[in-house]
């Protein structure tokens, strides 16, 4: 009973599931930073609240797309063809960079 070429891949590594969990942990990361910024608002001023709101927005945006992403990844395992998430990567990196650079600019100023 050897699997034929037409047998769908078993994916013993549960790759889509682990990737989905990685996205969820990232959401938690943004929530932590949002909480810290909110806590720091008395010292940072209104920027603390604005930063907290921005981090929270990123967290919500990712959380909303996680289920769709998971189903897409499961499908890509079945058809053995992936679509690199170029837009998500660029957007997430740009948002994180902008928020970090903004805090830096604020502190130097």
């Amino acid at each position: 009973m050897t699997p034929t070429d037409r047998t769908p891949p078993r994916d013993p590594g549960l790759q889509p599931e682990r990737t989905s969990l990685a996205w969820s942990r990232t959401v938690l990361g943004y929530l932590v930073v949002a909480t810290i910024c909110l806590k720091a608002a008395p010292q940072l001023g209104p920027v603390g609240i604005v930063s907290a709101a921005a981090y929270l927005t990123v967290a919500v945006a990712i959380a909303c797309s996680t289920t769709t992403r998971y189903h897409r990844d499961v499908r890509s395992m079945h058809i053995q063809q992936s679509r690199p998430p170029l837009r998500a990567v660029v957007a997430l990196s740009a948002a994180t960079t902008a928020l970090s650079a903004h805090l830096l600019w604020l502190l130097i100023d």
């Binding site: 990737t19 010292q43 990196s93 970090s100 830096l104």
Partner: protein, 123 residues
Amino acid sequence: MRSSNSRRDVRSLLLGGDVEPDPRFTLANERTFLAWIRTALAVVAAAVATETLMAEQWPSGVRQPVVVLLLLAGTAVSIGAAVRWLTVERALRRGRPLPLSPLVPMLALVVLAGAGSFLVLML
């Protein structure tokens, strides 16, 4: 139709290569990117925490360099995460060996400097 064509052009320009890699490798690369982003978030969180929690304990002359270093590192890591993802994705699609990551020694140095200055300031 035109917009989807031009989008594909941008993708092929950035990612290159005609070989579709194993989806598992693409997903692994995605997880590594997310791990770097979380690292950047941790560094930024450390910076904000230092700035606010240590406001009274440490004079701003010594606090500010630590906070600026951490925020610079957070910015660099979040840019580097995307660059790293892109170079790995390109290597996968061209069947080339994976490049080394300059982020690893950079982050190690920053963490060392940050931990060292915390230690010195605490003593």
